[in-house]
Symmetry: C2
Amino acid sequence: MLNTPRATDTGIAAHDRLYRSLRQQIMHGELAPGQALTLRGLARSYGVSMTPAREALRRLSAEGALTLSASGRVSTPDLSTERIEELATLRALIETELATRALPRAHIALIERLQAINMANAEAAVKRDAVAYIRTNLEFHRTLYLRAQAPAMLAVAETVWLQLGPTMRSLYTRIARSEPPQHHRMIIAALKAGDEPALRLAIRTDVTQGLRHIAT
Amino acid sequence: MLNTPRATDTGIAAHDRLYRSLRQQIMHGELAPGQALTLRGLARSYGVSMTPAREALRRLSAEGALTLSASGRVSTPDLSTERIEELATLRALIETELATRALPRAHIALIERLQAINMANAEAAVKRDAVAYIRTNLEFHRTLYLRAQAPAMLAVAETVWLQLGPTMRSLYTRIARSEPPQHHRMIIAALKAGDEPALRLAIRTDVTQGLRHIAT
DNA sequence: CATGGGCGATTGTGATCACACGGCCGGATC
DNA sequence: GATCCGGCCGTGTGATCACAATCGCCCATG
């Protein structure tokens, strides 16, 4: 079998398909921290050869989504508390800026979409579905930040989310949160009121709230 | 010749050697914006096969240091003014935080090293050596931020520098700056005085100064 | 029962090849 | 003379293989 075109070939490169799939799994907290990934294992499960698997893993580890051990073994990161604090600070810095830029452009349709996403998020919380909770939570933030029209800043923010993915999983499955996110309501209220200081505060507390009290 | 070990084998993987070399060239502004790179060309000039070259390019494009065209061609980025503004804002946000964290740890030996680097920087300015200017400029900032003991934040900051590399080159070769950076002196003065607000202001102006007035 | 040595299986790395897509240049046609 | 078409060359993509390093397990030894 030499270079057989895949039946499911969508015209998108195989390494890109792997990359997107893994990236989403990591960002949404579907993988636990410290989980090892192998080239051959990944290649087999996606029905490709080692080459595209290697590229996808290399790309993800360049973004900090995966860590390479000294021997080249790759696994999901198991972050120290110091690093978690740094990433939380980065989230606060970048996302307050993104929210501020989005504020003047936030019209009623956007706020309604945010409320709808927030309902799905609350539902995931009561169901104790950590993955769905993380996914809807990030979707809430991304939907808001897309209005900022700042792709470079959003890309950096998503890189930070990516690094925090496995950590958020272990965090949210551990504390088994059942309360819906009250900070999201504060964000929506500030958007409605056009209150920039309140918005910045709401973003900062929402972003750091879950991550700050890890130093157990 | 199958898998012949290279005579210059230092134990470091070939793709990593390429990565580091290209990364430094891009960050230091040795490559102009829009410069195209080819797998075979790179592999030939480094004496390796296409495989490690591909990995290095993939890694760099994941960090935003290179852009992939639709057909997979890779070249150094030619940034829009909007994107430059975003990256300048990111620099200001992240680097003020890093400087603030470094401030309480900045003792006299660090300040003396910063002054020495700054002299080399001024020398590059009078010589109109854009590459040396960018290199010493970044070394100045990195030396300060290393004291912040925040590797994750520094890594993100360096990613932003990487994206701005070719742009800084074309900027600094165009305006042919001859004056030494006065903002660096403000940074050093604020460090000596332990004045945090002054330090934050100095960092912000230093970082945005060159990039802000691009909107010609 | 704990511990260290050794061997086999597994893994990442790099080279090489086949293939398909795309750009570029030349010539033929109107 | 301008324009369009076709083939060639260069380029990225993915598969496969050889090889070295390393991990893990088992057994022997104290």
